[in-house]
Structure formats: structure tokens, C-alpha cells
């Protein structure tokens, strides 16, 4: 039985960053369902935020004039960057549902952790003076997105993997091992049950501390920028083990996902002057953001697109998409400034952007909610912050909460880094004083039952069909806009699907790389946590950040109605029998008073 002081689940930025802390003083393993470099962190394009202040102010202003990446800021604020400014931007961007100590920790540690990446060899783009290049990004009042061309996530993920390879004698990597269950008894986390995709064997992993760094859950939606692996496994497993999920109703939608596919087209396109056009051939952003037009912030643009579609002005036979129009842009500009966009469109949808309109739609992009933790990444069980001993969470699967109701671009690679680092340190310290807690006799029982239940099921339901129904319901009824009626319908669908899942059938009964079984297990996870998203959204009677309830939304001004008096609080969703029980937790606000979130 594999035994390690600390076991980290997930090998994105959060997981590997944690491993590099833990390996300094304890034996550590990474368990990951995809090989580390295949983790979704690698897909991040834009950058990672840190108030390094590398950009000289004159240059900043010039770049700002191009309003790159949809950032729109008053010029006078474009000055030297500071930790304080970054901290403030996070809180405001999150529509004040941010725990301000978490935002502080994130902003404060950003520079050191970025320098650490750089020392480890990260391939950052550079300024003429040799410093790490930075650029503006939506909602950040200074150009603080450190970047590596349009592949920042790739550069950082590979940098961490290189460092892990360097320490291959200190860090064990179990690749294509899928965690199915946590072993928690008496509030002490004792290990994990893992299914080795390579062999089909169930393994028990014995450890003093587990760090979940399993990433986001965009795949619960039909249109998503997320990888196939982003099925929220860790979130579902924690939830099944009695941990509440926090703020799950906050899901960020990106305005420019490719139609049907959701593949991300970067904000750069709109920054460079691309138009958004409805099914009637009309530029429509003047109705929603009269001055900024296409360059408005993500959530506003995504909502504008949805409003056009809802009012019957979408494109295509089903009138369910919007067009991105690049046709008027000079070929040279597209070639030099938006190379990957033209590449993506040709390769993935076979479209010539210079002649054709590109069908796009809002796509589920980022999960603000997740497993609630303390600043040290310790998983908490309730509003009183009761800890599960030895259980930690970091990265997109966790909710510390730094992003609140809406995260700003380029802040999530940072969050994965900061929380990974913090959880790694805490888990290391814990493992140095804790003993291995004994494993219960029935440690693997529930995972065994889960696998057997699927493998031996001779029912009639197909994984692909159930998954599609779930994803479509979530996108259509719990998407950019929500309202009580649709949310109730969505809840019914999810409940029904949970029920039908008991009748699921797969043909593949093999042991080696049974990816049909993997997909079934992942579907089971999604069906569980999806319910918390819908319940949270149904309960939250206000519009805040990414959560827009039509009942609390002025369609004329395209502005949401936020209710600080009743709803400035975190949602905690517990599994309760067959349903969800909601509780709430105060937001830690001590520095910046909530004001209206206007740009």
C-alpha cells in the first residue's frame, strides 16, 4: 500500500506548487488523473497577476490606449502598481463577496511567488529592460498580468513539472490514477481510495495529510472553455464526505467561447477591434455598454449576448449564438496580434475569418466556488471553521474565498499558486507533528461499491445521454441568466438524472484503461455537485458578480440588483440525505467597504 506523509491530488499549478513545498521536509506523492503536464492549468493564456510594477507608466498609458483585453480604466489611475491596489481590485472585482484577508494574502505573496517561478526557469516574455513583461487586464487598474506570450499557463505548468522532475527522488507521481474517495473517520483524514486507470486496481493510499487540487467543474455545462478532465471530482468527493461546498452558484461565463465547442477565443480579439454581431447582422453592444461597446467587461458582454439570444436575435437556425466579426480587421493585424485566434478558427471549425463570421457564445469558464478552506488551505466544515484534520484544498477546487462572486482575469493562476504554496506549507507542518492515523477496515467499501455498481449495472441509460442532458440543462437554465422557474426545472432535471444514473450501463467491462467507466464515475460526480450550484442559485435572491437573477436585474440598464443587507454572505451547501441543506457564513470585510461595482 502506497504510504506517504502527504498526498496531493491533482497536478495543475496548485498541486505541483504544493508538492514543491511539501518535499522540502516530508515524503510526498502526487496522484493525478491526467499526466501532470496535461493538467488544465496549461490552457491558461492571458497571464498571472502580481503587482511587480515592471511597466514604466508612459508605456502603460500607451498600451492602455489600445484598451487591450477589454480593460477599461480611467487614465489617471494608471500609475505605479501596488499590493494595495491589487488587493482592492480583487475585492471590487469579486463584488465584495471576497474574504479580504484571503485577497490580501494573495496580493501580498504574488510578487515573491512570481519571482520564484522565474528563478525556476519559467519562460516569461520580457520587457526591453529584461524584466518580466506585464500587460493590462480587465478589472486590474494597473498592467499587472505577467505573461508568456499567449501561453502563460503552459509556461508555468511546465516550469513546475520541470522542478518536479528535478526532485523525482523526493516526489512520487502516480499518473492516471483517479481518486474515488477520501478516508475520513472521526474528523481525521487518513488516506484516499484511488483507482489506477492503467490496471483497473483499487489502491488505498495511507497518509497523514491530503491536499485536494483537483481543479474546476466547467464540464457540468454544455458550453465550456474547460478541458474534458474538469469534472469537479475533488469537489464531489469532499461533498460526499460531509464537507460543505461554498459559493457554488458563482460560475464565470466567458463571452467568447466558440459555438458548440466552447474553445476560448481570447479577449484580445475584442481589444483589437472585433465586433459582436447578432443574427440580424447588427452590432448590439450599444444597448448594453454605450461607450465601451465590445470592450466592456466579461460579465457584461456575456449577459448582453444572452439578452440578444433571449430576445430572438441570435444567429443560426436555432438562433442560439452570436457572431464575432473580424472581417474588417487588416490581415496583418490579425496575423501579428491575434495569431492563435485565426489558427484556432481554421483548425477547429474550419472557418476563414477574413470572409466568414465566427459563431460564438458565452461559455462556462471558471468556478468561483468550491471546498471551503482557511488561509492555510485547511478544509473547514462549517461557519465556525471547524477543521477536518489533515485535509487541505487549493486551486480552483477550493474556495478560500479570494474571488468572491466573480474573479478577475489572470487572478486564478495566481490563486492556484498562492493557495497551493500555502496549503503545501501547512500540510508539511502538520505531517511533521502528526502520526499516521489507522485505516478503518471498510476504507474501500464505498469506492468498491461505486465501481461495481457501474460495471455490473445492466440498465438502459447511457452515460453520454445523461451527461448531455445535464450539461444542456445547466447551460440553459442555470447559465448566464437565471430565474426561479428555470432553476426549479433545472433542479428537477438534475434530480431525475441522479435517479436515472442508478440505471446506467457501460459496455466496457475491462480493467485496463476503462475510460468508459471513468466517464461514468465523473458523471456521478457532476450530478452530485450540480445540485449545489442550482440550489445555491435558487436561494440567492439577488444579482451579484457572475450570478445574475432575472428577477433582480434591470434589463433596460442591464444592471443587476445587489442586496448587501441580506446576501453579503457565503453559501455553504451540505449534502443532506438525498438533497442539499444550505447554510451561510459571514464574509470577512475589514479593509474596503462595499461600494457599487462600476467600471
Amino acid at each position: 500500500m502506497p504510504t506517504h506523509d502527504v498526498v496531493i491530488v491533482g497536478s495543475g499549478l496548485a498541486g505541483m506548487r504544493a508538492a514543491l513545498e511539501v518535499c522540502q521536509g516530508a515524503s510526498v506523492a502526487i496522484v493525478s488523473k491526467v499526466h501532470p503536464v496535461r493538467s488544465h492549468s496549461g490552457a491558461a493564456q492571458g497571464g498571472i497577476a502580481a503587482a511587480l510594477g515592471n511597466m514604466p507608466p508612459e508605456r502603460t498609458a500607451k498600451i492602455q490606449a489600445r484598451i487591450e483585453n477589454g480593460a477599461v480604466l480611467p487614465d489617471e489611475e494608471l500609475n505605479e502598481d501596488s499590493i494595495l491596489l491589487h488587493w482592492f481590485d480583487i475585492c471590487k472585482g469579486g463584488d465584495y463577496l471576497v474574504d479580504q484577508d484571503a485577497a490580501q494574502m494573495t496580493a501580498e505573496n504574488a510578487p515573491t511567488l512570481i519571482y520564484q517561478y522565474e528563478r525556476w526557469g519559467a519562460a516569461f516574455s520580457r520587457l526591453p529592460n529584461g524584466k518580466i513583461a506585464q500587460r493590462p487586464f480587465g478589472g486590474h487598474q494597473a498592467p499587472r498580468a505577467c505573461y508568456a506570450a499567449d501561453r502563460t499557463g503552459h509556461a508555468l505548468l511546465h516550469c513546475l513539472w520541470e522542478q518536479v522532475m528535478k526532485r523525482s527522488d523526493q516526489v512520487t507521481v502516480y499518473s492516471e490514477w483517479i481518486v474515488l474517495d477520501l478516508i475520513i473517520r472521526d474528523n481525521i483524514c487518513r488516506g484516499l481510495v484511488v483507482w489506477d486507470l492503467n490496471t483497473g486496481r483499487l489502491e488505498t493510499v495511507h497518509t497523514k495529510a491530503v491536499i485536494f487540487a483537483t481543479g474546476g467543474y466547467g464540464r457540468a455545462f454544455s458550453i465550456t472553455t474547460n478541458a474534458f478532465a474538469n469534472t469537479g471530482d475533488g469537489i464531489a468527493i469532499a461533498y460526499r464526505n460531509g464537507v460543505p461546498l461554498m459559493d457554488m452558484e458563482f460560475v464565470q461565463f466567458h463571452p467568447t467561447g466558440l459555438y458548440r465547442l466552447g474553445i476560448l477565443l481570447s479577449e484580445g480579439a475584442r481589444g483589437e477591434g472585433a465586433y459582436l454581431i447578432n443574427g440580424e447582422g447588427e452590432r448590439f453592444m450599444h444597448r448594453y455598454a454605450p461607450t465601451l461597446l465590445e470592450k466592456g467587461p466579461r460579465d457584461i458582454v456575456a449577459r448582453a449576448e444572452m439578452m440578444e439570444i433571449m430576445e430572438g436575435r441570435g444567429g443560426g437556425p436555432k438562433k442560439d449564438y452570436i457572431y464575432l466579426d473580424l472581417r474588417h480587421l487588416p490581415a496583418e493585424l490579425v496575423r501579428t496580434r491575434l495569431p492563435q485566434i485565426s489558427d484556432l478558427v481554421t483548425k477547429f471549425v474550419g472557418i476563414d475569418w477574413s470572409k466568414e463570421l465566427i459563431p460564438i457564445q458565452p461559455a462556462a469558464h471558471y468556478s468561483m466556488g468550491g471546498i471551503p478552506t482557511t488561509l492555510q488551505g485547511e478544509v473547514i466544515l462549517d461557519a465556525q471553521e471547524t477543521l477536518v484534520k489533515g485535509l487541505y484544498a487549493a486551486g480552483e477546487c477550493s474556495c478560500v474565498s479570494v474571488h468572491g462572486a466573480n474573479r478577475l482575469g489572470v487572478n486564478s493562476l495566481l490563486e492556484a499558486t498562492v493557495t497551493g504554496w500555502a496549503a503545501g506549507r501547512a500540510a508539511l507542518a502538520h505531517s511533521q507533528q502528526a502520526e499516521l492515523a489507522p485505516l478503518p477496515a471498510d476504507a474501500t467499501a464505498s469506492a468498491e461499491a461505486e465501481v461495481k455498481g457501474i460495471l455490473e449495472n445492466e440498465g438502459t441509460e447511457s452515460v453520454a445521454d445523461l451527461r448531455k442532458t445535464l450539461q444542456e440543462a445547466m447551460t440553459e437554465k442555470c447559465g448566464v441568466f437565471r430565474d426561479a422557474d428555470h432553476l426549479k426545472q433545472c433542479l428537477e432535471t438534475v434530480k431525475d438524472l441522479q435517479h436515472r444514473f442508478h440505471n446506467v450501463h457501460i459496455r466496457d467491462k475491462g480493467q485496463v484503461f476503462n475510460t468508459a467507466l471513468q466517464e461514468a464515475i465523473e458523471l456521478g460526480h457532476m450530478l452530485d455537485f450540480a445540485e449545489t450550484i442550482v440550489e445555491g442559485a435558487l436561494a440567492r435572491q439577488e444579482s451579484r458578480g457572475a450570478h445574475a437573477r432575472l428577477e433582480y436585474f434591470d434589463l433596460k440598464t442591464a444592471a443587476g440588483v445587489r442586496d448587501d443587507e441580506n446576501w453579503l454572505k457565503h453559501t455553504l451547501a451540505y449534502r443532506d440525505g438525498d438533497g442539499v441543506r444550505l447554510d451561510y457564513k459571514p464574509v470577512r470585510i475589514f479593509k474596503f467597504k462595499p461600494i457599487a461595482r462600476k467600471y
Binding site: V34, H35, V37, R38, H40, G42, A43, P111, T112, I114, Y115, E118, R119, W120, G121, A123, F124, S125, R126, L127, P128, N129, G130, K131, I132, A148, A149, R151, G153, H154, A155, H158, E162, Q163, M165, K166, S168, A227, F228, L261, I263, L264, L344, K347, F348, V349, G350, I351, S462, V463, A464, R507, D508, G510, Q511, V512, F513, T515, A516, E519
Partner: protein
């Protein structure tokens, strides 16, 4: 789009003695990628088919497979571009790696070789100050920018000709990675890296077939990186190998004569190596008899060789 017949490599180690092709026929949606088609098969026709995929946007490197015999990321390959005239598309796992199941290859060897080149920064100088980055000018960054885009999908390794006949060869991905760090101004171990890379299995065993340049789905061009490693090694006077001598002798002969005289190249490249030279003797003799090699002819030269000699002289001085 018309019906397409997909001939998919199947192998289940639990039940199959040897691999076989299974055919699936359907009409893909307009604009489908090959990955969309595999997913269609898995989700609607046959869930036992196993393959890797994740990001479906050409960045995670999971989905390299051979389409009609050549490695590609199937997630960025439009199926309409690869249908053969007979309406088929053949899909195999990547080459040069053992197959675990269906389209899934065992990448352990890939990672072992990657590990062997010390694929991480080894600085020997501290950064300018504790709270600062190393400074690196944009020109310096550009030296390895393209190589740093490697997503480790294994496509280049799949199609590498040298690897096919020499398992010891480190291969294009690992060597490109080695270059990426050798070229990084922050790294302090370039010479030691190069010393290891001139050994057997290293930079001189690349046959320069350009397969990896052609197949790389990113902008790495591994073979070009290998050539740059060679330039570095020669600059650092790491010339004691047949490969290095081959290049310097070749360049020298051309510099003196304008063209290559193959009668001179092997003898000088191999150095004092009677065994190898003897091994070549029978063929050489036969070639003489057939009139291919003419030992008695004066050394070959181009017309106006002095001009070539001048150019060589000027540029040898490192301009």
C-alpha cells in the same frame, strides 16, 4: 459531408493477442475534428474504445495519434482534411512507443529520456537582488522562445526515424528541451550539458530527416534545435566525436575545394579507426571497380575555387 469509414487501431491486452483494425462508419458533422469523430464513436457507437484527450485545444498534448500514418493532435485536425480518396481515415497510436490499449501509448520511455537531459534550469549565479527576477533581454528570450512551446505530446518522437532504428537515441523532444535550457542565459551549466549531449544517443545521432519539424504541432522544430546544439558544442570546442569531426571536416573540405570530395570525408571523420575503415574497404573497392569512386583522379574542385576559399576564410573568423 459524406460517410467516412474510420479504421481504428484496436488492442486490448486483456483479450487480444495482437492488434487489429476496427471499422466505424458514419457521417460527421460539418467542421468536425478527428477527436470529435472519436468521441462520436465512444459516445454513440462503442464505449470500449480507449484514447487520451483533455483540453481539446491543442495545448495539453494528450491526443497525439497517427492519422493515416503520421502523428497529429487529433483535436486540431479537421477530419475533412484527412479523408483519403477511398473515404477512409486510419487512426493508430503514436509510433516508437509500446501500446497499452487501443490508441493509448506508454510514454514512460519518453519521460525517462526527458529526465535524462536534466530538463530544468540550473543557474549558477544568484539573481541581481533577493526581491527581483533575473534580467533577460527580449533577444535572449527569443533564443529559446519557440522551443519552450513544447507540449510534450510525443508527436515528434512518434515519427522520428532515428529512434525507429536506435532505441538509445534521446529523441527530438528531449534534445529540443536540452537546447531550450542550454540557450537560456539564466542557466549556468551549458558546457556540462553539451558534454553529456555529444555522447552516443545524443545530438550527433539525429539523422536530420525533418520528420519532427514537419510533425510538431507547435513551433518547436526539434531538429533545428538539435542543429543549434551542434553549433554550440562546436563553439565550445567539443569536437571529439565522429559527428563533430564529420561536420568540421566537411566544412573544411568545402572551404578548400568548393565541393565535397567524398574520398576524403570518411577517412578524416572517423579519425584513427582501422576497424571501421576496414569495414568500409570492400564496398570502397567495389565502387572503384564500378567506376563510382575514382581514386586516381585529382581532388575535385569547383571552378573559381579561390572565391569559395575567400568566403570561407572571411566567415570562419566568426562574422
Amino acid at each position: 459531408m459524406a460517410d467516412i469509414r474510420f479504421q481504428v487501431h484496436r488492442f486490448n491486452p486483456e483479450t487480444d493477442e495482437k492488434p487489429y483494425y476496427q471499422e466505424y462508419q458514419f457521417t460527421p458533422l460539418e467542421g468536425s475534428t478527428v477527436l470529435d469523430c472519436l468521441n462520436y464513436i465512444k459516445w454513440h457507437l462503442d464505449d470500449t474504445l480507449a484514447y487520451r484527450m483533455s483540453c481539446r485545444s491543442a495545448i495539453c498534448g494528450s491526443c497525439a495519434m497517427r492519422v493515416n500514418g503520421h502523428a497529429k493532435l487529433v483535436c486540431q485536425t479537421q477530419v475533412k482534411n484527412v479523408v483519403r480518396p477511398d473515404g477512409t481515415v486510419r487512426i493508430d497510436p503514436v509510433g516508437n512507443m509500446p501500446v497499452l490499449k487501443d490508441l493509448i501509448a506508454d510514454m514512460h520511455g519518453f519521460w525517462t529520456k526527458m529526465q535524462a537531459v536534466k530538463p530544468y534550469l540550473m543557474p549558477t549565479q544568484p539573481p541581481p537582488s533577493a526581491n527581483q527576477e533575473y534580467l533577460q533581454l527580449p533577444e535572449a528570450f527569443r533564443l529559446f522562445e519557440e522551443e519552450a512551446t513544447c507540449i510534450m505530446c510525443g508527436a515528434c518522437v512518434s515519427d522520428c526515424t532515428s529512434l525507429e532504428s536506435d532505441k538509445q537515441f534521446l529523441g527530438p523532444a528531449a534534445l529540443a528541451k536540452a537546447y531550450r535550457f542550454s540557450a537560456d542565459t539564466r542557466d549556468g551549466r551549458r558546457h556540462e550539458r553539451l558534454e553529456e549531449l555529444i555522447e552516443r544517443g545524443g545530438m550527433w545521432d539525429c539523422v536530420r530527416c525533418n520528420e519532427c519539424v514537419q510533425t510538431c504541432p507547435k513551433t518547436v522544430a526539434p531538429m533545428e534545435a538539435i542543429l543549434k546544439l551542434r553549433q554550440m558544442a562546436l563553439k565550445e570546442r567539443l569536437t571529439d566525436s565522429i559527428g563533430a569531426r564529420h561536420v568540421t571536416v566537411f566544412t573544411d573540405i568545402v572551404g578548400r575545394r568548393g565541393i565535397l570530395d567524398e574520398r576524403e570525408l570518411p577517412v578524416r571523420s572517423l579519425g584513427f579507426n582501422p576497424v571501421k575503415l576496414l569495414g568500409m574497404a570492400p564496398v570502397a573497392l567495389q565502387s572503384v571497380l564500378k567506376g563510382k569512386i575514382r581514386p586516381l583522379e585529382p581532388p575535385h574542385k569547383v571552378k573559381g575555387v579561390e572565391d569559395v576559399q575567400r568566403i570561407h576564410r572571411e566567415m570562419e573568423d566568426g562574422s
